[in-house]
């Protein structure tokens, strides 16, 4: 399932819901376009280098219970972010294209 949408992963902003929200508010399996990462110079840079750049599409794979870390797929790689880190990444949620 994880890599099924590789080809049309970057259908940018196709069905944007509008409002910008934190990555932590996306549910498992939901997708979004990264708008901005907040936080210190070092953290933002690190996130960018791991591929979380403005305009990229990401998909939440898993969320841990009780404000735990979030696992997401970005650029074909699975990445785990602590809750604190994930809450600083802002995304525009996308409606699921249901494996179109």
């Amino acid at each position: 399932m994880r890599f099924r949408n590789r080809r049309n992963r970057r259908a940018r902003g196709a069905q944007s819901n509008g409002g910008v929200t934190s990555l932590t508010s996306l549910g498992e399996g939901e997708k979004g376009i990264v708008t901005k990462a907040m936080g210190g110079f070092g953290l933002v840079r690190r996130l960018t280098e791991m591929g979380i750049t403005p305009g990229i599409e990401i998909r939440v794979l898993r969320k841990c219970a009780f404000h735990g870390p979030v696992e997401l797929e970005v650029r074909g790689v699975a990445l785990a972010l602590g809750y604190g880190v994930a809450s600083k990444v802002f995304v525009t949620p996308l409606k699921d294209e249901a494996d179109a």
Binding site: R45, T48, E49, G55, R62, C64, P69, R75
Partner: protein, 656 residues
């Protein structure tokens, strides 16, 4: 044509650099399926078609910026030492992210060859990569490899030789940025080449310009030594400011996005998505083991089965070996007695032979099963999942989930675990992690806990000791977190896909770790046993027992002679149990003569009181004397304090 070549392996974490390194050199660099395990660069030499090739395995990094020590070390090595070729190991199943790093190597204008690794794994994901097209796009040779099986390694070496001989005709890709960025890069470049001509002989001028535009603190620091450095720096800062105003992002985010843009373009152009893959067993496994609820019982089960295996397997093997060696020792003794005086025979059997036998029958049976289990955990890719699950809990002691990895390694040996703390990002986190890691009972301490308490008191009591230790780790970790100043950082870790651990690799790893253990531990065990026999002959033991008697018998409730194994235990922890047997033997006692409470107190004190000499040395190297001593002091104080409390508490509850 040079006969001596130097090549460096560089690339992202967990792409198979160490596997390629081992294939090339025939050495046994520890490999495993978790990002960050190569913390020190490894070096090796091989001979190929009349060339002597020196190979360096650089630690895995995601970028050549200055986020971590490893990144600075790697980029300085590449630009200052100038190896003949850099083999950029690229994970074919995550091409886009890996090419981002390739873009940076190209910017450093290093002579690179791409080893497109794990092509088999990419195929499993339904991805096929057009090698020729990728080579054309990057302008460098690309060799597909499957490092685990060794396929493509010979071709890689031939390509290395061909490249050094100048047979590589392609011109490597020179990335151009967007107009506004490019304009500024070139302006800084022009200024730098006239004002910083010396620095430009070490690093490529264009690279210096880009790094200055990115506000790279390390490069900016290098300018301080130049007369006109300030002028260039000021100009670069002004340019960066303009860019940031234009884009509303910090300048490194802008350049990184551009680099990623190109990496994406190339990756998409050369990747052919064949069949969309079905949900594989690995993915199902992944879903279960990181499930928000199911994940925890699974984690508990994994750890519990680890201890069950070590205990049951260890006990079984230990008892068997004990029996065999019992007959063997008696036989040897009777043979020696035929032609040697009794004192000499005693020295040999009680000193040397008893030490070796104890090492084999007490230590090895518990250590080998653990190493096997650890190798499986490492190779499968479970460790990062455990880090993911434990992130929340680790935050309570001011660390993030990644610290759970050295913590688990700590159950094997504190030394690699202590060094493994380098996967933590900041100095503060490394220290906090090391502080709790040394409290984890390593395999040697497991020998004492299981071999004494588990064997003679009961497994449930031994497990209770482990549980108590974890609680202690948590409490002490939390106190340290409150005392050591600084802000905690969050978790950012890649989750590698699950792999089936290779049987050969597990055996190799277990073998090399066991061998290291035997080489280091056995001489110390033998010397320790000899010293005890000698001490006994000279009557020194009596002095020590009298001197230590108030602490040992009054406070801890242990026989005073037990102070000797505890002192020698600083050398190695499993020595405490082996020497305990020795000193008791000198008193005409065996291990079983100790009461349950005494066994528990002894194991508890051994578990906590001080990291062994090797661990102290590792701590000192990582953090300096002051902090190493701080860790030691806290551990000794707590061990004696808790030992005394346990003695009083257990005497009340267990024996009455």
């Amino acid at each position: 044509m040079p006969n001596q070549l130097r090549i460096a392996l560089a690339g992202n974490a967990n792409v198979g650099k160490s596997v390629i390194f081992n294939q090339l050199t025939g050495l046994n660099q520890i490999v495993g399926n978790w990002p960050g395990k190569t913390v020190e660069r490894a070096e090796g030499t091989l001979h190929f078609k009349g060339h002597t090739i020196h190979i360096i395995d650089l630690p895995g990094i995601y970028s050549l910026s200055t986020f971590s020590m490893e990144e600075i070390v790697s980029r300085d090595y590449i630009s200052i030492e100038k190896p003949d070729v850099i083999v950029n190991v690229v994970d074919a199943s995550a091409l886009e992210r890996n090419l981002y790093f390739t873009m940076q190597l190209l910017e450093l204008e290093a002579p690179i060859i791409v080893a497109l690794n794990q092509v088999d794994f990419a195929a499993k994901k339904g991805l096929k990569i057009d090698v020729e097209k990728l080579s054309k796009a990057l302008g460098v040779p690309v060799v597909p490899t499957v490092a685990i099986t060794g396929s493509g390694i010979d071709e890689l070496l031939s390509t290395v030789i061909a490249t050094v001989n100048g047979e590589q005709k392609r011109k490597s890709l020179k990335m151009r940025y967007g107009r506004e960025i490019e304009k500024r890069v070139q302006a800084i470049e022009k200024l730098a080449s006239s004002k910083l001509s010396q620095l430009c002989t070490v690093y490529p001028t264009r690279w210096i310009a880009i790094k200055l535009l990115e506000r790279d603190a390390d490069v900016a620091g290098k300018l301080q030594n130049y007369e006109n450095g300030k002028e260039v720096l000021k100009f670069a800062e002004k340019s960066a400011g303009e860019l940031e105003k234009m884009h509303g992002e910090s300048s490194p985010v802008i350049t990184t996005s551009e680099r990623y843009g190109l990496a994406t373009k190339i990756a998409n152009a050369v990747t052919i998505v064949e069949t969309p893959p079905r949900v594989s067993l690995e993915q199902k496994l992944d879903a279960w083991t990181t499930h928000k609820f199911l994940g925890y019982p699974i984690l508990a089960m994994v750890l519990a089965s680890m201890f069950a295996l070590i205990f049951l397997g260890g006990n079984f093997i230990s008892a068997g070996l004990d029996y065999v060696f019992g007959i063997f020792t008696a036989y040897i003794e009777s043979v020696f007695l035929l032609f040697l005086p009794e004192i000499a025979v005693n020295l040999i059997t009680d000193g040397i032979l008893a030490g070796i036998v104890a090492g084999i029958t007490i230590a090895l049976p518990y250590i080998v099963p653990f190493y096997i289990f650890l190798a499986i955990l490492e190779d499968s890719g479970y460790l990062p999942r455990a880090a993911f699950l434990m992130d929340n809990l680790m935050h309570k002691i001011g660390l993030h989930g990644k610290a759970f990895i050295p913590l688990i390694l700590g159950y094997g040996c504190s030394v690699p675990a202590c060094i493994g703390c380098r996967i933590m990002e900041t100095e503060r986190e490394r220290f906090l992690a090391a502080f709790v890691v040394v409290l984890i009972p390593c395999a040697a301490r497991t020998v004492v806990i299981l071999g004494l308490v588990g064997r003679f008191v009961g497994l449930h009591v031994a497990l209770a000791l482990y549980a108590f230790d974890l609680i202690l780790v948590f409490i002490l970790g939390r106190i340290a977190f409150k005392i050591v100043p600084g802000e905690p950082v969050g978790l950012i870790v890649e989750m590698p896909s699950y792999r089936r651990p290779s049987f050969r690799n597990i055996i190799m790893k277990t073998w090399s770790r066991t061998r290291d253990f035997v080489y280091v531990a056995f001489p110390i065990i033998i010397v320790g046993s000899l010293v005890i026999v000698a001490f006994d002959a000279l009557g020194v033991i009596d002095y020590i027992t009298v001197a230590a008697s108030p602490l040992m018998s009054d406070w801890l409730g242990l026989p005073p002679v037990t102070s000797i194994p505890l002192v020698f235990g600083i050398l190695r922890k499993e020595l405490t149990l082996i020497l305990l047997q020795d000193v008791l033997l000198q008193q005409g006692m065996v291990l079983q003569d100790l009461t349950s409470v005494q066994m528990i107190v002894f194991a508890l004190v051994t578990m906590i009181y001080i990291p062994c000499l090797a661990t102290i040395a590792a701590c000192k190297r990582e953090f300096g004397w002051k902090r190493a001593i701080a860790i030691m002091t806290v551990d000794i104080a707590f061990a004696l304090f808790l030992g005394g409390l346990a003695y009083r508490f257990l005497s009340l509850t267990m024996l009455t």
